[in-house]
């Protein structure tokens, strides 16, 4: 993986290297975007909508997204559902176990800013962006499967704009 990251640097020296680098960028980011495997991580009501999106009518598989059980093989966490204070260290642990180009979608109001449990709840994390870096926020409680798919499309647009060099 390290080699691929430095590839654009090497390619610059060759005469036609620039074109190869950009086209390589295009191919690699395109492939990354159209085959995201999401981690089966659902806590509350949004998890039911996540399952409904995986079912026949909305079908995640059309976007090339299959669910993976182990964080090692997943490259997207869809934080679907309320993240409580007891669950936050687990979410951080799962995020750390994932392989590097990894993304997070905050699905539903609870993961954006605590949703209906922001006030008067002593056990709910108020949003998850201080636990894991979030890429896409999806409003809704729970968001419709279409808005989840639209969120995935936004994530795909964001990935397609990425260059190879800039994943940390």
């Amino acid at each position: 993986m390290g080699v691929i990251k430095k590839l654009p640097v090497y390619l610059e020296h060759f005469p036609g290297g620039g074109i190869v680098a950009t086209s390589l960028d295009y191919v690699l980011s395109q492939s990354q975007a159209s085959s995201i495997w999401y981690l089966l991580f659902g806590t509350a009501c949004c998890a039911i909508e996540l399952m409904a999106t995986g079912a026949s009518r909305y079908d995640f598989d059309r976007f090339g997204m299959i669910f993976r059980a182990s964080p090692r093989q997943a490259d997207l966490i869809i934080a679907a559902g309320t993240i409580t204070k007891k669950m936050a260290p687990r979410l951080r642990l799962l995020y750390d176990q994932m392989a590097q180009p990894r993304y997070v979608i905050a699905m539903g109001g609870c993961t954006v800013k605590g949703g209906p449990f922001y006030y008067d709840s002593y056990a709910v994390e108020k949003g998850i962006d201080h636990i894991v870096p979030v890429d896409v926020y999806i409003p809704g409680c729970p968001p419709r499967p279409e808005s989840l798919l639209e969120g995935c499309l936004t994530l795909q647009k964001k990935i397609k704009k990425q260059k190879i060099g800039d994943w940390s």
Partner: protein
């Protein structure tokens, strides 16, 4: 067995020790002393006409001036349902555990202990299970409880 017959039966079965409260809207609600609890539970469980074999719910309540532990029980065999409660002051509130009569009470009592701080005598497994393991901010369901990041909804 409708409400009036049930109330009369229980009142004259446990003459002095149980008194009826008027706050019960649908089913009768009784009040009894905490030391009489275990005996009362064994009696209603073994009594043939009552045969209370189903513990629906144990609810801890902080009414602002005292604690209450409300037991909702029912009988599957002859369709009886009623509640009884124990009121106690804030300091050293404690209650007998009714696990010997209904094993299902285990988690209900554990929750009452964890969220209200009402001590449950000889419960056997009083450990924390709803709140995070490193929780040190007291008993969150009490009315006077507060915490730095606990945000109340603005009174609109």
């Amino acid at each position: 067995m409708d409400k009036a017959a049930l109330t009369k039966y229980i009142l004259d079965k446990f003459a002095g020790k149980v008194d009826l409260l008027d706050t019960g809207k649908v089913e009768p609600v009784f009040r009894l002393e905490s030391d009489f609890l275990l005996e009362f539970c064994r009696a209603i469980n073994s009594d043939e006409t009552l045969h209370i074999d189903f513990l629906c719910n144990i609810a801890g309540v902080d009414t602002g001036e005292r604690f209450e532990v409300v037991y909702s029980v029912a009988s599957v065999k002859n369709r009886i349902r009623f509640d009884f409660k124990i009121a106690m002051a804030y300091e050293n509130a404690e209650v007998e555990s009714v696990q010997s009569v209904w094993p299902g009470a285990n988690w209900h009592e554990r929750e009452v202990w964890e969220l209200y701080g009402i001590n449950i005598l000889n419960h056997g497994n009083l450990t924390r299970f709803l709140l995070p393991d490193n929780w040190d901010q007291g008993y969150p369901m009490r009315k006077n409880w507060d915490a730095p990041d606990f945000v109340r909804m603005p009174e609109s």
